[in-house]
């Protein structure tokens, strides 16, 4: 197709779409809703990832984490399966932790287990408040800073705990909670430290430390009837340069420990920054479904309108063929028209999606992110929908018999 013919098709599409403004706008709306949903999901998801990436970057770029379960590389699995392992036995064990800590270039290691139970101080903590069972190394591995007191220490009693600032306020009525006692499953824990407010509800540990209580690993194991359900192992290498070799050795060691089963995932740097929140995945799942349905319905709308347009312009098709248009010229003419519809919808959807994302972000601790990938996905989806749903009407138009078409009266 020559550029002159292309410009003619574009002009023609503009003419045609402008001549039926309300019909065109309604058709565009379907695609716009779909693309807006996708843009919102992606911009917020990426915003969340950037929050985590920033946290990891602040830690010096030498952090690796091990999570139970195989790695997720499939987008569909990523959005449909929640990542927590709360109700399953973790595949990570104490011996894995021991094996990793023995590896060269591993500077510090902190296994994390999360226990669900009730916490009572002067008041009860809300249901689902995480009880984090870990080693004293977590403080340095995750860069946790204390407002008052000290972090866990292996040299002092196991019946001690460090509490997040917000939780301290909830269960003790004050952030100055040193010496207070918290009760968990019949055990008494003396508060020896209160964390500085982090304001990081989204992080790679999937734990909001502002609303968590941290206890020692041994007492945590007792609370879990003797078996530690390790949810994550955080490791810091001695330098950022050695991180790759550390990740590789962890993979080898754990494979040997697990008899070749790849039932664990080792992540480093940017891989860690993928959102881990179950709520996030639930929201993503729902909005993606809405977006997919909306795009499909929008696509059907385009096909419907294009079929109407082809029927209305049957005579025009006959005229164009009689004066020298080839079948492919007619196909392009109608395909470009449907692409104009879907791309307009895509553009409006992209703008509206960001508008929505900014509105939602007022209730979130992060902002939606701007990047070319989101624009490319919006554009790509629009082209795809326009092509898929515009092709059939276009081919149908091109196949019209010119003699029959010239006899047609609308």
């Amino acid at each position: 197709m020559s550029r002159f013919l292309l410009s003619s098709h574009l002009q023609n599409a503009r003419h045609s779409l402008r001549s039926n403004r309300s019909r065109t706008l309604l058709t565009i709306l379907g695609i716009a809703i779909g693309v807006a949903s996708i843009t919102t999901i992606m911009s917020l998801g990426d915003g969340a990832s950037q929050v985590v990436a920033q946290q990891i970057s602040n830690l010096g770029g030498n952090l690796a984490i091990v999570r139970p379960g195989p790695s997720r590389t499939n987008f569909l699995t990523d959005i449909t399966v929640p990542q927590g392992q709360n109700y399953a036995t973790s595949t990570l064990t104490d011996s894995d932790v021991a094996a990793i800590s023995a590896l060269p270039h591993v500077k510090e290691i902190a296994p994390i287990s999360v226990i669900n139970s009730t916490i009572t101080g002067q008041h009860s903590a809300p249901a689902g408040t995480p009880i984090v069972s870990t080693t004293p190394a977590l403080s340095s591995v995750d860069g946790l800073q204390l407002d008052v007191g000290q972090f866990l220490d292996s040299n002092i009693s196991q019946n001690t705990a460090v509490v997040g600032s917000n939780l301290a306020r909830i269960i003790f009525g004050t952030t100055d909670a040193l010496g207070q006692t918290a009760y968990i499953r019949g055990y008494n824990f003396t508060i020896i430290g209160v964390l500085k407010p982090l304001n990081q509800p989204i992080n790679y540990n999937n734990i909001d430390f502002d609303n968590a209580i941290i206890i020692g690993q041994d007492i945590g194991r007792q609370l879990s009837n003797g078996s530690a359900q390790i949810q994550q192992i955080n490791i810091r290498s001695d330098s950022a340069a050695n991180l790759t070799s550390v990740v590789s050795s962890i993979n080898k060691t754990l494979s040997a420990q697990h008899f070749g089963d790849k039932d664990f995932t080792v992540l480093a740097n940017s891989d860690i920054s993928q959102p881990t929140s179950e709520l996030f995945y639930a929201v993503v799942g729902v909005t993606t479904s809405i977006a997919a349905i909306s795009l499909f319905v929008g696509g059907i709308g385009i096909m419907n309108i294009m079929l109407v347009s082809v029927a209305e312009r049957t005579r025009e098709i006959g005229i164009r063929k009689a004066i020298g248009a080839h079948t492919t010229d007619i196909v392009w003419q109608f395909l470009i028209e449907s692409l104009a519809l879907s791309l307009s919808g895509g553009f409006l959807g992209y703008i509206a999606g960001y508008g929505l994302a900014f509105m939602i972000s007022t209730a979130l601790p992060f902002y939606p992110s701007f990047n070319w990938q989101i624009a490319a996905v919006s554009f790509g989806l629009s082209v795809l929908i326009g092509t898929i749903f515009g092709l059939y009407p276009a081919v149908r138009a091109a196949r019209k018999d010119p003699i029959e078409a010239l006899r047609y009266y609308s």
Binding site: S2, F4, L5, S7, S8, Q11, H15, S16, S19, R315, E316, G318, I319, R320, K321, A322, I323, G324, A325, H326, T327, D329, P402, I403, L406
Partner: protein, 303 residues
């Protein structure tokens, strides 16, 4: 009147076109043999259903599902690809329809420029410029940005002719171009076609109006998908002069249809009344031609 050369542009041999299958099969064209030379103005006449329009569609390459041999400027049509056929329609053939067939949402100038789009190689501006030049020759330059519905019937048909000519086609096919026009507009249109003929174009026109045959250099009459009479064959050689249609073919009357079902169509010479009508038409035409100044009166064309 321009002389037609003996270079054949269209050669049909045993051309057949059928519709339907089995018992419902009917031949719209039933063994048409025809040679049309360059520069001829051929009028095709005949009753409804005789196959005139079908023949024109076949000649214009709109209908290619045919039996028999069709050679267009020496090339067998059945050997050409669809793209080649489209290219020929774009560059060598110009269509003029009874119902004008302009695209209503495009302006006059855009309609005229449309064939140039498919011919390719010209920018939008150049296409419009060329269309404007073509419209000027039809004294329609003041109507360039009108929409088709804002024009009179005669003007609309002149726009359609301008569109047919914008690519400088060698053959012009006109399917009852005056069918929707009053007699005054009809004669203006016929003058335009006559002018084109004089400039060397080959014109093939389907009409029901015997008056219009006076403009043609050759009159073909069709009946039941066959050529019933052809002034060319009646006179022996193609003439450079205007040839009066000498014969008209009429269908057997319905009363005698059963009895005559095996007989051939009746060919009769023109009645005295028809001859008189023809004379009047010729005289009218001569009068119009005489009155035509080289630069035509614009008023005449804006009506």
């Amino acid at each position: 009147m321009t002389e037609s050369t003996n270079t054949p542009v269209i050669v049909l041999r045993g051309l057949k076109k059928h519709f339907g299958v089995g018992d419902a099969e009917q031949y719209a064209l039933d063994g048409v043999d025809l040679t049309i030379n360059k520069g001829e103005f051929v009028t095709i006449m005949g009753p409804s259903g005789s196959g005139k329009t079908t023949l024109l569609n076949v000649l214009g390459l709109l209908d290619t599902s045919i039996e028999g041999d069709y050679q267009l400027e020496g090339r067998a049509v059945n050997t050409l690809s669809k793209r080649q056929l489209a290219r020929i329609r774009s560059r060598q053939i110009g269509f003029v329809f009874q119902s004008f067939n302009l695209i209503n949402r495009l302006t006059v100038i855009e309609n005229v420029a449309l064939p140039l789009t498919y011919k390719g190689g010209l920018s939008h501006i150049k296409r419009l410029k060329k269309a404007s030049e073509m419209l000027a020759t039809f004294h329609l330059n003041e109507r360039e940005y009108f929409l088709p519905y804002q024009l009179s019937g005669g003007q609309t048909q002149r726009v359609a002719i301008a569109r047919a000519l914008v690519n400088n086609p060698s053959i012009i096919l006109a399917d009852e171009p005056t069918g929707n026009l009053d007699s005054r507009a009809s004669h203006i249109i016929m003058e335009e076609l006559s002018d084109l003929h004089q400039r060397g174009n080959t014109i093939i026109m389907v009409t029901h109006n015997p008056d219009l045959t006076t403009y043609a250099s050759r009159v073909i009459t069709m009946l039941d998908g066959k050529i019933a009479s052809d002034t060319d064959s009646l006179l022996g050689q193609p003439s450079v002069e205007f040839k009066r249609p000498l014969a008209m073919v009429v269908r057997p009357s319905t009363d005698n249809q059963a009895a005559n079902s095996q007989t051939k169509p009746v060919v009769t010479t023109l009645s005295k009344v028809d001859r008189r009508k023809l004379k009047v038409a010729v005289r009218k035409r001569q009068q119009i031609a005489k009155n035509r100044a080289p630069a035509r009166h614009a008023e005449e064309y804006h009506q």
